[in-house]
Amino acid sequence: MNAPSSAPSRRPPPAVLDELDRRIINALQGGFPISDEPYREVAGQLGTTEADLLARLQRLLDARVLTRFGPMFQIERLGGRFVLAALAVPEERFDEVAAAVNALPEVAHNYRREHRLNMWFVLATETPDGIAAATARIEAATGLPVFAFPKLREFFVDMRLKA
């Protein structure tokens, strides 16, 4: 029901949002109620109807303004692991290596960045052991050493952005 977001290299242009869209995005980045009719509750607080809110959320998901709407699981609390990792990919091999890395389901995000270490991805696995296995598969598939940067300490994480 939510929009898929796995297409590579796509950077949607800034979306055309009206004032109510912005208020919806700003208000709904957390705190969605766990109640019988949560959309109706939120719609009332935003001064609109349940039907309008549902239609707008669907449109924002379809337009990929929102990548998801739902619970955000804290996977480390659930025994899983996230590890940031990087590769120094020779420019002429970049697309081939990106395809090999992206093919792993454990790769949750992958970004090209301007640096000798030019490919930065997040490995997300259900168990701690999964990370080493995924790293080994990437090294075998690409012939490149994986630089792993597991977090030692988290100072802050909050991806909320103002629309």
Binding site: Q74, G79, L117
Partner: protein, 165 residues
């Protein structure tokens, strides 16, 4: 911090049922309950407990930052004196333009940086100005730094746990 525990069987089914999103229907928890073959009260109770225990960070919308006009995304990285990284990391994490801030291991000699602070902005100059604010805050404790701008999203799916192929 609350305890880390693998999901029990029902939590696992809840995660699989909602990882793509919450139903966009007037009674979303009833829809989930029907899919899972349980009472809606159980769905709500367990979701509330997971939220309370930090197993769910929050419930809501995840915006695509590019679509909101945050087109510049700079991963600022810093080689910070280990003796001061705790207090300085906390201070940087409090800056409102920093969306993630972590201490990570160095990978010498290739990578001397041990503090990562992600900065989002409407353009590169804004991000670079924010990075200067971080540099000022770090002062003499910082020995080297860099900013890695992203130039393409190659993949963005988030974690998918098993059960849905």
């Amino acid at each position: 911090m609350t305890d880390t525990l693998p999901p029990d069987d029902f939590e696992r089914r809840l995660i699989i049922a909602t990882q793509a999103g919450l139903p966009l229907a007037p009674r979303p928890y009833d829809v989930l309950a029907e899919q899972l073959g349980v009472d809606a009260a159980l769905v709500k109770t367990r979701l509330a407990a997971m939220l309370q225990g930090g197993r769910i960070r929050r419930i809501g919308a995840v915006p695509n930052h590019y679509a909101l006009g945050y087109t510049a995304n700079g991963m600022s990285v810093w080689d910070v004196n280990d003796a001061h990284i705790g207090e300085l990391g906390e201070a940087i994490g409090r800056l409102d333009f920093v969306t993630h801030c972590y201490e990570r291991p160095r990978a010498l000699p290739d990578w001397p940086y041990n503090l990562f602070a992600m900065v989002h902005g409407r353009d590169r100059d804004t991000v670079l100005a924010h990075v200067e604010e971080i540099a000022t805050l770090l002062g003499a404790a910082c020995r080297a730094r860099d900013v890695l701008f992203s130039t393409a999203i190659l993949k963005k799916t988030g974690l998918r746990i098993g059960g849905d192929g």
